[in-house]
Subunit: 239 residues, 2 copies
Amino acid sequence: MYGVGVGPGDPKMMTILAKEILESASILLAPTISMESSGRAEEVVRAILPNREIERIVFQMTRGTSGQTLRESSAKAAARELFERCAPDEDVAFVTLGDPSLYSTFYPLARAVSQLDNGVEISMVPGIPAFTYLACRVNMDLLDNSERLYVVAVVQDEDLDRLCDLLADRQATVVIYKCGRRFGKVREALAKTDRLSQALVGEQLGTQIERIVEASLVSEDYLSYFATVISPAIRSDFG
Amino acid sequence: MYGVGVGPGDPKMMTILAKEILESASILLAPTISMESSGRAEEVVRAILPNREIERIVFQMTRGTSGQTLRESSAKAAARELFERCAPDEDVAFVTLGDPSLYSTFYPLARAVSQLDNGVEISMVPGIPAFTYLACRVNMDLLDNSERLYVVAVVQDEDLDRLCDLLADRQATVVIYKCGRRFGKVREALAKTDRLSQALVGEQLGTQIERIVEASLVSEDYLSYFATVISPAIRSDFG
């Protein structure tokens, strides 16, 4: 079973290997929150392989303290469904946004599949992560010399305290994922640490409705789930 | 001018967009440490586009306290060379390993080019970073729920102190770049923070001579420049 990262949303961000696997797999599965609507990963595949048959598998993507449990049980249900639908020896590819090793929907599924049948061979195919895509879109250097990069998720209020600690490291670029529902608090944290004016927000990256904007100009307190925030390291020599 | 990330070394890790740009650019430049030998980025392009003409541009990649200055002056020299060689309006693509926003050779060059002629349009094309490639190769989940990811470089001894602080955060996955010459010290830091047994080392990723091995089994104190180390977050529920 392949877990194929398709990148943030722009179909051309798919790797050559990812495309080959999506073409050759006998069954292609895409996660969705309901059978009636397509997920974003499915949209990416459709744009590059319009005639490919794609099956949907319902997957609860909610995270957080209680979300984690929900996600685990959802992954287990999806794994059982996968075993019912696919004959053994079938070449199954499961598509996931971004990269399968970074906050992906694939990993909990792969774990649940291994628990049901540990003979299934799992293979993860890397994808362009949303944060490097966003950095490249605006010609931003995330890391140089001995600078550091922190990638954090803000899924609960406790994560905000740690975020402030990390933002205090001026030589670090901080990438914030999953902060959509707490964007107002994140903006406060950026302001408190003097980082608001340089921070960026990206939403719907790689799609037709992509929005990339300075964090200081975003007045909403809630953003979409897939919003990505970058607060660049503070540099004296260039901007 | 395009800065095209070609991924860690496996030609199939190139994105569809990267391949298109490498095919269509009128001049393709690859960095090398000497005109007589090919750099790794050039090798990746050759594997996927064997008939493509690739020009070499000498680039000093050494970093660190003094390396930084050397790198800046090397970037300036490369930028001047680029202006001498390329006619204006030429469609130039410069290839770089991994992703252009992460410790890449492209960024200092782009900055130097902008300083010589700020009318040059710069465009960065994302590439698969070495660390997510390494994670995917071993089916490792780098980040889940509210875990954190720290990407750090160890170019000087002072970086080792901070590394220990970061390793102390048990819910963080720590990726270590550029620690080749100080691997012995990094191994000590991993051992001191009880993380040595789970840490991984990857070298020559994506190439024929790729080596992926547990850090505890690596006895050398010096590794190659492009070695990547991953110390996964400490989890209780699964391995």
